[in-house]
Amino acid sequence: MKNSHKWLWGLGIALAIAAVAIVVVWSGSLMVLDPKGPVAEIQKNLIWISVILCAVIIVPVLGIFAFIIVRYRDKPDNKAPYEPNWSHSTKLEAIWWGIPIVIVVLLGYFTVRDTYKLVKPPAETAHVAPVTIQVTSMDWKWLFQYPDQDIATINYINIPENTPIQFVLTSSAAMNSFWIPQLGGQTYAMPGMAMRMWLQADETGEYFGSGANFTGTDFAKMNFTVKSMSQDDFNDWVSKSQQETAKLDNAAYNKLSVKGTADIQTFGSMDPNLFNSIVIKNGGHHHPANGLDIRGAYPVKDGSNESSGSEPDAANQTSGLSQPEMNH
Amino acid sequence: MQQHIVSPEVHEHHTQEQESLKTAGFWLFLVSDTLLFGTLFATYVVLVGHTNGGPSGKELFEIPGFVASTFLLLTSSFTSGLAVLQMQAKKLSGMIFWLIMTLLLGAAFLYLEVTEFVNLVHEGANIGTSAFLSAFFTLVGTHGIHVTVGIFWCIGLIFQLRKHGITTVTKRKISNFSLYWHFLDVIWIFLFSVVYLMGVM
């Protein structure tokens, strides 16, 4: 190969590396890659692990690809070897059945590890009593209920920092998906179902949330803000909100059920049975023990802490929600 | 036209080739139909408990009815087998006789099914009552539609037999029909066990 070619190759590779580096650094500012809580943090790490493991295959293969199409071009003076009937090599084929298998095993290990990790509430704050928020996806607004604080909001939530938040999700109409990228990945909000999901914010700040599964006309308007604040600020906000005269009862809920978008709103009190009735009305089931049959993640302190299997269940005590069935 | 160009033997050879392809294709069709019923069975099993406060199978299914249906359909499967035996013995009239028996039994089966459906609807258990009943009517009804199609198919084939006699082509058609009929029988046995027996248990 001529020297000028080598020089061009070098330049190309250097430029490619520089471009990748710039993209990697810049992408750190994207929501999913800029996590503000332990769940999103685990997911971000997993994303980078999978990027690296994939790159281990992709980059060399792209290199081989570039090399082959340059070297084996059909031109009269090409001196590269030509073996038109060479079509089998057990050794080579074993290698390229083997390499992807190794990568998949590795990636599979990390995947399974974190899949199990994420159905449990964050381990770091296991001692902190969680805040429960019941989420209902409506046409086309989000209804949030704080059963323990006896308040409800539309299209915004405030949460205390460093506290596990137990979301219980459902929908009153089409299926939706509840997503706050900087705090963690999404879970479906489905009619007739109650789904548990754990998130937590490690610092104060304002985060973007949205519905991720198409729900009809004004789906694009189903965004909400999540404000993470200190425990004191949160307490202040709760007591201030409790002063609001608006009450979330059946009449208010029926008004909300009319199709259309909504502005943010706060209710100073709420009907404690409303959430369960929304789930049951759309085909949900009472759990034999008491309350709702909730799917998805474990309730707090279940499984993550081996010694506490028999301890009273904080989440269940505070909000009257029962154990989920883990095997469906 | 064909006679000018090729000898009857050659034409017969081509016909046999064509017919063997069609039999192979029909087997594949039955595979896809099995998948179709499999999906319906899966749906039924998932929804069987979703009675929405309405009646369940235990309250609705009547044992003499579905036992009689089963008896009729199994017998018709047997008679369709007899028709094929007659065909292999090249006895056209015996064959047509057993085919007519088959479709009469099939029609009787259908009569029972329609009566059952009508009774259910009169009792207020229709397709819109609950997810369970939606699945029930759809699964059993799909089988019923298959039987109906089979009956019309059989009638058509009897006319063709009278016109053309037992030829390579009509032979293949009757064999496929018989295959189809046995297949519906097998599906019914699953229906009988999964829907009716497990329903009344």
């Binding site: 060479w86 694009a220 | 160009i5 499999g38």
Partner: protein
């Protein structure tokens, strides 16, 4: 009276949107123009005899091809409308409902009415020629499949001027797609359009399995069969197992909507989750159905244009079969976020990653086919080279999506959109285009112009990356799919604008291709039988381009894989295969029944959509009447005498 007609028309036709009025006018004008041209040139009879009633797989293939290119245009226009709407924040180009209808039809059309027929076009154009057969196993059924597809496609397409398009997403999850969420007729058009064409797809699957298993030329053992035919076999087996599930799923949704059943409704004990499971039990295999033939195409092209035997033939066959089986065990990865247990999610995460293994092996085998070969870059190879890096990256992001906990962050975001467009455009569309370029001269007798083809290739390719790479990052920045607008405060404007530029570049690439075809029809280079510089390896290159109606004057006796290559090699050494005796050729007769029967199916679908019972009855009677008419016709074949074969071959420059 007049008022009631007015009311009816206001209900029946879509009104109120200038874009739609424009479309109404252009549809009317195009229809008038077609009728005029056909009448003026006295082509009605020709149309009827040569096309509408044909059972010739080559003509059916060409009709599939034309239809799929039209659908590509329609789906592409949808895409450009969407990208225009999203180019900048708060654009008021499309209303929310209009946007929702457009992304729904875009997805439905691109998968079911573009990718599927383009795939069937290639099946029909190539498979019988490649295995040394004179037609498919069931030529009549083949024609019926085509007309069912076309009628289904028409049913979906009329929805946007009559009654209103579906707007619940391309897989239309209930309860949104139930009467409670979508009371209009759009959803019924969707169900019946897909249902009618779906019957055709299933029939095609059965047809080609039998064709490939039973009609190969003598001596062509399965392990000597060209890889494209293998890929068709694996895709058809997948069709056979997957499509019945789709049929049932849509039928249940129909029962919910039409008869008030409660399979997936909110009330009555319905379970919408079950629909999501069922539709993906079809939907995921469907993705592999469309991509497997593309793999077959690349295998043929890479070998031909590297002048080298395909590397690892057995691995390739094995890999395709593994993919076909595994594709049925990955469906849950479309809804990891549904709250299944960690066991379930882990299982499906692993199976999904596992499917990357055989796929990766195929890429290695293609690379090592080129290694120590002599590569020339004509259009088919160019698209194959565009495919490899694109599919590698798309495959890698697919593996990333399989990582269940990470998927919670990608799901339903633009990351997902970018991924599946990368595998579907980079894999399927590039593959089919490569195949069309490759076999075009065989079917039409002339080559497509290389220069314009290159322009098309580069605009398509660069446009692709400009369009879809930004979308990965949009997804990571929290942009979800199916939003018709977004605010300036999100900071998504620059990436979206870039993406829109890319989309329009691909549109220009498509226009180049239209120009390329128009140009080549007049000025294209005549193609010989062995059209690609005499480097063809498989049987289709041994016969004239375009092939005579009976394809092979004598059925070839096959000795090797890549038999035609060996015939040429032997000939160079002076070894000739013995000449075979010509015999009268057995052929199927044309029939009008497929076209008529499919038209009645259209009536059934249209009747169900608008709840017009009389039309359903007319349609159903027509369908059954057609079935009986076919069952009672015994005069369905004819023979081409030897003299006529000799004469035809002589005109094509071949002597016997």
């Amino acid at each position: 009276m007049l008022d009631s007609i007015k009311d009816f028309a206001a209900d029946f036709f879509v009104t109120g949107d200038p874009l739609i009025y424009g479309a109404d006018v252009s549809i009317a004008l195009v229809s008038i123009a077609i009728v005029f041209v056909l009448t003026y040139f006295k082509k009605w009879k020709w149309l009827w005899r040569e096309w509408l009633t044909t059972v010739d797989h080559k003509k059916i293939g060409i009709m599939y091809l034309i239809a799929s290119l039209l659908m590509l245009f329609r789906g592409g226009v949808d895409a450009l409308l969407m990208r225009t709407q999203l180019a900048l924040p708060n654009v008021e180009f499309l209303q929310a409902d209009h946007y929702n209808a457009i992304f729904t039809t875009h997805g439905t059309i691109m998968i079911l009415f573009m990718a599927m027929p383009m795939m069937f076009a290639l099946f029909n154009m190539v498979v019988p020629l490649q295995i040394g057969a004179r037609d498919v196993a069931f030529p009549f059924l083949n024609a019926l499949s085509f007309w069912l597809f076309l009628m289904g496609a028409m049913l979906l397409n009329v929805s946007f001027v009559i009654g209103g398009s579906p707007d619940a997403g391309w897989l239309s999850y209930p309860p949104l797609s139930e009467l409670s969420g979508s009371p209009g007729v759009g959803q019924d058009f969707y169900i019946w359009g897909i249902q009618i064409s779906g019957i055709g797809s299933l029939a095609t699957g059965i047809n080609f399995i039998v064709t490939i298993l039973k009609m190969r030329a003598p001596g062509m053992k399965l392990m000597k069969m060209p890889l494209f035919s293998w890929s068709v076999l694996s895709a058809c087996i997948t069709i056979l197992f997957a499509f019945p599930i789709l049929t049932i799923t849509l039928a249940l949704l129909f029962l919910d909507r039409y008869f008030g059943a409660h399979f997936f409704t909110l009330d009555g004990g319905g379970m919408s989750m079950m629909y999501v499971n069922l539709i993906w039990m079809w939907g995921h295999p469907e993705v592999y159905i469309v991509v497997l033939p593309a793999f077959g195409i690349f295998s043929e092209i890479v070998a031909t244009f590297s002048k080298k035997t395909i590397f690892g033939y057995k691995s390739m066959v094995f890999a395709m079969m593994v993919i076909s089986v595994l594709s049925f065990f990955t469906w849950v990865h479309h809804f990891f976020t549904m709250g299944s247990s960690a066991d379930v999610n882990s299982f499906f995460a692993i199976t999904t990653m596992a499917i990357a293994i055989p796929t990766g092996v195929k890429v290695f085998n293609w690379l090592f086919t080129m290694f120590r070969g002599r590569i020339s870059f004509q259009s088919p190879m160019l698209w194959t080279m565009g495919f490899i890096p694109c599919f590698l990256v798309g495959g890698a992001t697919g593996v990333m999506l399989a990582v269940a906990p990470a998927d919670f962050q990608y799901h339903n975001s633009y990351f997902l959109i970018a991924h599946f467009h990368q595998v579907l455009i980079g894999g399927v569309v590039f593959g089919y285009l490569a195949g069309i370029y490759y076999w075009w001269p065989k079917l039409f007798g002339f080559k497509l112009d290389e220069k314009r083809g290159r322009w098309a290739f580069w605009t398509w390719n660069i446009g692709f990356y400009v369009c879809f790479f930004p979308q990965y990052f949009l997804g990571l920045d929290g942009m979800t799919r199916r939003v018709y607008t977004y605010g300036w405060d999100r900071g998504w404007a620059a990436l979206n604008f870039t993406s829109t530029i890319g989309a329009f570049m691909m549109g220009i690439g498509f226009l180049f291709q239209v120009w390329q075809i128009a140009y080549s029809v007049r000025k294209g280079e005549r193609a010989t039988g062995d059209a690609w510089g005499g480097n063809g390896r498989t049987l289709e290159w041994s016969i004239p381009s375009p092939p005579p109606v009976y394809n092979f004057a004598v059925v070839p006796q096959v000795k090797h894989a890549d038999d035609w290559f060996h015939v040429k090699e032997d000939k160079a050494k002076g070894i000739e295969r013995p000449k075979q005796q010509l015999e009268p050729i057995h052929m199927p007769k044309n029939s009008a029944i497929p076209f008529v029967m499919a038209s009645f199916f259209f009536l059934v679908g249209f009747g169900f959509t608008f709840h017009w019972t009389w039309m359903i009855i007319v349609g159903a009677l027509g369908v059954f009447g057609s079935l009986f008419a076919r069952s009672f016709s015994y005069d369905v074949d004819y023979y081409i005498p030897v003299d006529e074969v000799i004469e035809t071959e002589r005109k094509l420059g071949r002597s016997y």
